[in-house]
Symmetry: C2
Subunit: 378 residues, 2 copies
Amino acid sequence: MTDEPKQEMVVTPWEVKGDIDYDKLIEQFGVSRMTPEIEDKIAEHAGYKHLQLRRGVYLSHRDTEWWIKEYEKGNKVGLYTGRGPSGNVHLGHLVPWFFCAYLQKAFGADMYFQMTDDEKFLHRADLSLDEAVSYAYENALDVIACGMAPGKTHIFSDTEDIEHLYKIALRVAKKVTFSTAKAVFGLTDSDNIGKIWYPAMQAMTCFLESDREGRNIPCLIPAAIDQDPYWRVTRDIAQKLGYYKPAQIHAKFLPGLAEGGKMSASQPETAIFTTDPPKKAGKKVMRAFTGGRPTVEEQRDLGGRPEICNVYAYFYFLFEDDDKALVERETSCKNGEILCGHCKKELAKRVESFLTDFQEKREAAREVLDEYLIKPVE
Amino acid sequence: MTDEPKQEMVVTPWEVKGDIDYDKLIEQFGVSRMTPEIEDKIAEHAGYKHLQLRRGVYLSHRDTEWWIKEYEKGNKVGLYTGRGPSGNVHLGHLVPWFFCAYLQKAFGADMYFQMTDDEKFLHRADLSLDEAVSYAYENALDVIACGMAPGKTHIFSDTEDIEHLYKIALRVAKKVTFSTAKAVFGLTDSDNIGKIWYPAMQAMTCFLESDREGRNIPCLIPAAIDQDPYWRVTRDIAQKLGYYKPAQIHAKFLPGLAEGGKMSASQPETAIFTTDPPKKAGKKVMRAFTGGRPTVEEQRDLGGRPEICNVYAYFYFLFEDDDKALVERETSCKNGEILCGHCKKELAKRVESFLTDFQEKREAAREVLDEYLIKPVE
């Protein structure tokens, strides 16, 4: 399998496929590599170092030191992330949301969480606006279940809460030409005029907290690196509009259960949804792509390849918080001491137990949803 | 003056200049010429024939017979017009609004009146959003003072009432490509992405009443012909969205006080604003361009030229409801029996008295403004 030619990497806000080369992305996108100093600073304020920081999930950033320094000066700092609600949430989506909840607690930050139902409607021929809105509210339950703080989390739908958003989006839109949108997002004349407008909606949220509170509040965006084009445009116009440039911290993609690419809702058999019955999710794990060898004999002789194994990746990103246990698993695999079936069974068990617990939290979130939705400025 | 070369005609939603050739516009825009049958039908339902119908102010239309027939079948019909609130309202704006109030009464129609503060903000570098919004509310007073019916008039600002509008605008936007917007509105890659989005906002109102009432309601748009490109786009997509194509009835432009073009707020000395002190407006009239001859002798010999006279145009469009008196004025002018000073003085008096009365109505409108603003669907 490793001898097959690599798939060409494509990373845009609408498509991520192929073998992801993060070094190339860092260079292409002109972002800064994550540093141990920043990771330590975050851990210091949080009181502990999150699994995702220990495992290098956040590979790059822009201006994160500045955002932390502002906090250390005693200034209020904010967080922004979002979700395109075109279906159910899968584990890949949760990776940055868990981290957001951790950052929110560490820095006492308000989180503006954008449900881009307008974007999904405009981009997908098969999605109605009502469907997108309905997913926005369903997906909000997942956001809450990740542990976001009530009172400090402002979830909003672009279409349902547009009265809080349109004026700032217009101010942004006035500063962005179609030439820029073409160059940055690859939009063309054949795209609909809603798609051309939409970047203003995603950029706008960077300034939303500042606008609502009537003072400049540094904004940090934890998100996967494919969203970077939006922040490049936003950073270019921030100062013209009188706001700080938003800072970013970029997560790697959680792989799907099949080989290569990120976990994607468009390949439901290879993604574990938070709404999957736990047993069904366990079965998906049992069919996952691993770094195993074609035969038991080869595996015993040559050892497995955790570096390309999705089952290992799930332990690494989400399901093994114990660093020592993780290293032991890696070593045993490489030494051919354990077989793929063993790891799959263990992962399936953890996934099932995780989902059982998460789904309880998710259902409980229905009762308190309203507390997490954006409110008018007082 | 008549020997001077004609100025090139430019008629777009953002610019009207030069000598307006209505025959050419009708052909260019592919609209139907107004017919006496339609004018008579409207008069029949109204109970009288409005000055603007008697004088051919409405030169062309699209599907107006159909709209009237729907009404005659007992179906509800609606009206839509609007205003770009970038300054004070002048008499040129009032021409279609008076006619709207007449149509509204004749057909018992709801009127959706759009204040396009987003458009004006996006198009004008010097206009802030707060200014545009403030003009929207000020201009609404003029709309009310024109005699629109309370309870049946729904004035809205694109930015202040966006929660009622954004979803329909998204549905429209998804059906319009930038290629179309380029071809129809002459937009370019250098335009900001808000300007590119805006046509969806203006088109959306054609479907607003249908959307709010959950059934298809034929919509007629009385407006100046320069807005036609919006309706061409809207008509192309209406059926794809499940709505009727909007019908239109196109007004001529009221000329300014200087030679040529329409009355324009960007030439304040040649426009009479509804907020002008009446005496000041009278003085503007006294400086108006007329069809007079260079000397009194020539005027007595050759007669004046009401066909190019703006003072005559004001009597014709707004200030002389008596057809017989109008013909007498025209004849006396052509025969050299009256001089321009005479007509200017008479017009100044009527303008002053009109403004005194209108300004009272306009101030009274402040007290009832809220009754005319769009409300959530019950």
